[in-house]
């Protein structure tokens, strides 16, 4: 077992986990943070995206032990039903959530982008979500939602 300290959504966790445990499983199974989704488990779909030190990563391809001492943000730390993050609200406004399976990862990739680049253009938005697979929306509404958040409306689409 590995003794691990993680700061998840602003809260400190001291955990003992097997060396083989993946971050996605620690979040979902051990801590009940099931907003993080598990899709392909091989880095291809982005459903498991979380932020580590404000950077988007696939939690299915990282050992919990690798995240030792790091700051982790999951969708639960972004906003909740009564207090949506502007990105989440824009996703709703633009009908960018259909089945919703990709949404937590998608929102975190977008927030990761906005932390580095507060005014991305459409190309940069599309690059930032290239690792997040959405089977429903065709991405158009998602890009529109992000452009809306950054105050550019739909004029650039």
């Amino acid at each position: 077992m590995e003794k691990i300290h993680l700061q998840i959504n602003g809260r400190n966790y001291h955990l003992e986990v097997p060396a083989t445990e993946l971050l996605v499983d620690t979040l979902r199974e051990r801590l009940g943070l099931t907003g993080t989704k598990k899709g392909c488990e091989i880095g291809e779909c982005g459903a498991c995206t979380v932020l580590i030190d404000d950077k988007a990563v696939n939690s299915c391809l990282i050992l919990t032990a690798q995240a030792e001492g790091k700051k982790i943000t999951t969708i639960e730390g972004v906003g909740d039903y009564n207090n949506l993050h502007p990105v989440q609200q824009a996703f709703l406004n633009h009908d960018a959530v259909h089945c919703g399976f990709c949404t937590p990862g998608m929102v975190l990739s977008v927030i990761g982008l906005l932390k580095r680049n507060p005014r991305p253009n459409e190309k940069e938005i599309r690059e930032a979500i290239a690792g997040n697979l959405c089977r429903c929306t065709g991405y158009k509404q998602i890009v529109e939602a992000v452009l809306d958040v950054i105050g550019q409306g739909e004029k650039n689409i």
Partner: protein, 322 residues
């Protein structure tokens, strides 16, 4: 995943004295995939990330660029010196995998990643795993190599390897307590030399640095990658090119192909034709059409030769313009 012990590397020395049943991990984006698929069943995983000194990216005017092997692909792409002096590397990084994987995957790991042949990654005991058959020969070989193959027919999956070879980079390797420097051209090997590995690394050897010389004044570089999907994918074929022209002729250059061979590929016959070649469109087209003349495509991949020639044609024409 079969249980393993996890230890952060204390020092290069300690990490390199690893036993046969332990493996080195950088970002883990390739390694964990291998372990999940039971292609590797290590007793111990040694995490190199604790070796902070291997993360630096440094540029020295006149000398060039030093990339610590543990720098992530994102860190390389976002480095201001790299953006200014080596835009071709930024271009390459942006073509690799997804943002999430680039935030974790390292430059050293990208060069040392294992092949993506679907038989190898699947449940086939092929030659590369110590078996006695290459299943690609009579099987699904659309994405396999067209040159340099035999007895195994993988393509090397690394995009950075292609650009770094075009830039004539070297690797610094920690080996038996000492550092040695090896041209990247000598780092990658063909299956005929050893079909169970893709490079010269012996157990315990660690890539510490990638050294990229200055791009010669007047030279232009590009990396072009053809993939089947618009978002992310491994290269079907790719091209790294460095070209120095003076109006009407090519002074010198280097062309490297990815996705066609078990290692980043230098077509020697093609490269020797570059110096002195006229840069009119007709000549550049015939130059491009002479690429990969020695190729021996498999049953389902001769399309790669046409693709490569067309990419090269476009690149030669674009880079010859002033």
């Amino acid at each position: 995943m079969k249980n393993f012990k996890y230890i952060p590397a204390e020092s290069l020395e300690k990490a390199s004295q690893k036993k046969d049943d332990s493996v080195l991990m950088a970002g883990g984006t390739d390694l964990l995939g291998m372990i999940k698929d039971d292609l590797l069943t290590p007793e111990t995983v040694i995490n190199l990330k604790s070796l902070k000194e291997l993360k630096n990216i440094r540029y020295n005017a006149g000398k060039g660029l030093e990339i610590g092997a543990l720098a992530t692909i994102t860190e390389l792409a976002e480095n201001s010196d790299v953006q200014k002096r080596f835009p071709v590397l930024v271009q390459t990084c942006k073509e690799i995998a997804s943002p999430q994987l680039r935030n974790v995957g390292t430059v050293g790991g990208n060069l040392c990643q294992r092949p993506r042949c679907w038989y190898y990654r699947g449940e086939f005991n092929c030659l590369r795993k110590g078996g006695d058959t290459c299943f690609a020969v009579d099987g699904e070989n659309k994405f396999h190599c067209v040159v340099g193959g035999g007895p195994c027919y993988i393509v090397h999956p690394s995009d950075l390897a292609v650009s770094l070879l075009a830039l004539d980079a070297s690797l610094e390797i920690f080996s038996n307590g000492k550092l040695k420097t090896v041209p990247i051209d000598d780092f990658f090997i063909l299956p005929e030399q050893n079909e169970t590995k893709e490079n010269i690394l012996e157990p315990g050897e660690i890539v510490t640095k990638i050294i990229v010389p200055e791009i010669p004044a007047g030279s232009k570089c590009a990396f072009i990658k053809f993939k089947e999907r618009a978002s992310w994918d491994f290269a079907v074929v790719s091209l790294g090119i460095l070209l120095n022209t003076n109006g009407s002729t090519i002074k010198n250059g280097r062309i490297v192909f990815g996705g066609v061979a078990p290692r980043p590929w230098i077509d020697t016959a093609l490269n020797t034709k570059l110096t002195g070649a006229a840069t009119d469109e007709k000549n550049l087209k015939s130059l491009a059409d002479s690429a990969l003349l020695e190729a021996e495509p498999m049953s389902k991949n001769d399309y790669k030769i046409i693709l490569v020639r067309n990419l090269l044609k476009q690149a030669l024409i674009d880079l010859s313009k002033n």
